[in-house]
C-alpha cells in the first residue's frame, strides 16, 4: 500500500500534524468568533487536516500577554512549522493570512 492511498480512519488521525496554530483572543467576542471561523475555513481549504488550532483566551490567562508578547488581538501565531510567524487581525483577508503563515494556497 502506498502512503498516499486512503488509510483507515484510526491511522489517519495519527498522521503527523504539520501546522500548530495558536489564536490569542480576549474572551468571546464577535471578532474573536469571526477570527476563529475564518481560520478554520482557511485551514480546511488549504491545509486539509494537517493542522491543529489552539485558542488562548488572555482574559482567562492574562500572564500570557506578557510571556508571549501579545499586544494586538486577535493574534495568530504559527508555532509549527518553525520559524514562528505572527499575524494579527480578524483574518478576514485570506491572502494576507496565507502570506503571513507562509502557506501555499491549495489549488
Amino acid at each position: 500500500m502506498s502512503p498516499t492511498q486512503k488509510l483507515p480512519v484510526k491511522k489517519r488521525a495519527l498522521q503527523p500534524v504539520e501546522y500548530i496554530l495558536c489564536l490569542y483572543v480576549a474572551g468571546e467576542t464577535a471578532r474573536s468568533a469571526s477570527a476563529h471561523a475564518n481560520l478554520k475555513t482557511i485551514c480546511d481549504q488549504h491545509l486539509g487536516s494537517r493542522y491543529r488550532i489552539k485558542v488562548i483566551d488572555l482574559l482567562k490567562n492574562p500572564k500570557l500577554a506578557r510571556d508571549h508578547q501579545i499586544l494586538a488581538l486577535p493574534t495568530l501565531v504559527r508555532q509549527l512549522p518553525s520559524p514562528v510567524r505572527k499575524i494579527i487581525g480578524d483574518l478576514s483577508n485570506t491572502e494576507r493570512v496565507l502570506v503571513g503563515l507562509d502557506i501555499r494556497p491549495a489549488k
Partner: protein, 493 residues
Amino acid sequence: MLTKKAARQRRVGKAARGRAHPQLPKAATGIQGLDEVTGGGLPKGRPTLVCGGPGCGKTTLAMEFLVRGARDFDEPGVFMSFEETAEDLALNIASMGFDLKALVKRKSLLIDHVRVVRSEIEETGEFDLEGLFIRLGLAIDTIGAKRVVLDTLEALFAGFSNTGILRAEIRRLFDWLSQKGVTAVITGERGEGALTRQGLEEYVSDCVILLDHRVVNQLTSRRLRIVKYRGTVHGTDEYPFLIRENGISVIPITSLTLNHNASTEVVSSGVPTLDQMLGAGGFYRSSTILISGSAGTGKSSIAGHFVAEAGRRGERSLYVALEESQSDIVRNMKSIGVQLAPLIAKGSLRFMVSRPTAYGLEMHLASIHQEIVEYRPRVVVLDSVTTLLSMGTTLEVSSIIVRLADFAKMSGITMVFTALVEPRATYETTTVNISSLVDTWLALSNAELNGIRGRTLSIIKARGMGHSNQTHELVMSKKGVEIKHDAVSRKKT
C-alpha cells in the same frame, strides 16, 4: 439655627472658596522644583504628556516620577517601556541613587519591556490592542500601582501600520487609565511643528509638559515648560533644569510674585564703621545689596567681611566666585586680617567657584539654586555679576539676577552682588541694570583725596532706612576695611 457669627463665617468661607481657583487633586512628584512649578504635582489619576526631542530627559523625568512615588509617597508604579530594556532602565535608576532591586522586591515597582517589532506583524483585518490593555492591567493589579509610565507610546506607531485603529486604541487607553485611577506619564517624541510626532497631545488634555535641550554657543541649556495644565494657574515661562546624579532639579524661580514679608531684623555688615553709615545699623536680613566699583576698590573685601560676620553669628554663607579662585580670595582676605579658612573648615563658608564660560547662564542659575537648596546658607555672595555678561546679553543676565534675588528674598537669604563699573561711569550706569532691584547700593570708587590716591565709599541708596549721603574714605589695612568718618572733598578721577 446658626448664630449670626457662624452664618457670617460660613458666608466668608464660601466666598473665599469661590474666589480661589478650584484645585484639582495632584500627585506630588518629589522631583526638585517640579512640584513648585506645577502647584503641587501632576494631575492625580489623569494622564500627563511629557514631550521633547531626543536626549531631553523625558525618560529620566518619567522614571524619577515613578521611583519617587514608590519610595517616598507609597504609591507603587508600573514602568512600561517600549524602547529601553529593563536592564538599561535599571542602570539608569541605579545611577540616580535609587535601589531598584529593593523596590521591585517590595512590589513597589514593576518594569515591563514591550517589544514592538514591525516585521513580525502582518495585518490581516480588524484588530485592537486589547493585549496591551490586558498586559498593563495585570501589571497594575499585581502591585496595586497608583502610577504608570508609558515610554513611549509612539513606538506603537512603528509597529502597526493602521493608524486609524492605533489612534482609536490610544484614545481608549487614556480613558481606561483614568478609569483605573492611575496617574500616568506618557512620553512622546517632539515633532516638526507639533508637540509630538504622532500628535499624542490630542488625547492628553489635562497636562502637557515640554522639555527642551539646546546647545547655544557650545553651552548646554535645558528648559522645562508647562504647555498646558487644565484647572491650574501655572507659569508659562520656561524653567531651566538640571539633570544631576540624584535626579532632575527644576529651578522654580521665574516671574515670582514678591510675596514675602520684609524683615526688620538687622545684621551687621562686618565693618562697624560701615554699619554707622546705615540708618538701621547694618543691613536688613533678606535684603539684597549691590557693591559696585571699578577694579581694586574693595568690593570683594567688603563682601568678605560680611561673610566672616555671618560666620561669627554661626550662620552659613555661600560665596559664588566667578572671577577668582577660592585660594586667591582666602589669601586676599587674610592680608586684610579676615580669616576665612577657619570658617571653611568649620563648614560655615562654602565657595562655589565656576568660570562663567563653563556652562550656559541658565545652568549657572540652576547650579547656584541647587547649591543654595542643598547647603541652606543665610548669606549668598555673587562675585561678580559683571562676569556673567560674557555669557549673555544684558537682558538675559538681568533676568538671571532678578530671579536669583527673588529666590533669595523668599528664602530669607541676604544676598550680596558685586559689580564692576568702569572708572568713568556715573553711578547710574551699572552694566546689568540691577540697581533698581536691590535694597542697598554701595558705590566704591578710586578717588583723589587731597592730592593722594585713595578709595571712597558712598551709599547710593538703602531702602527702609536713613543713610549717610556723604562720600567717605575707605581704608584697607591689615586690620580690615574701615570707613573714615570725616567728610572729605572728592574729585572724580
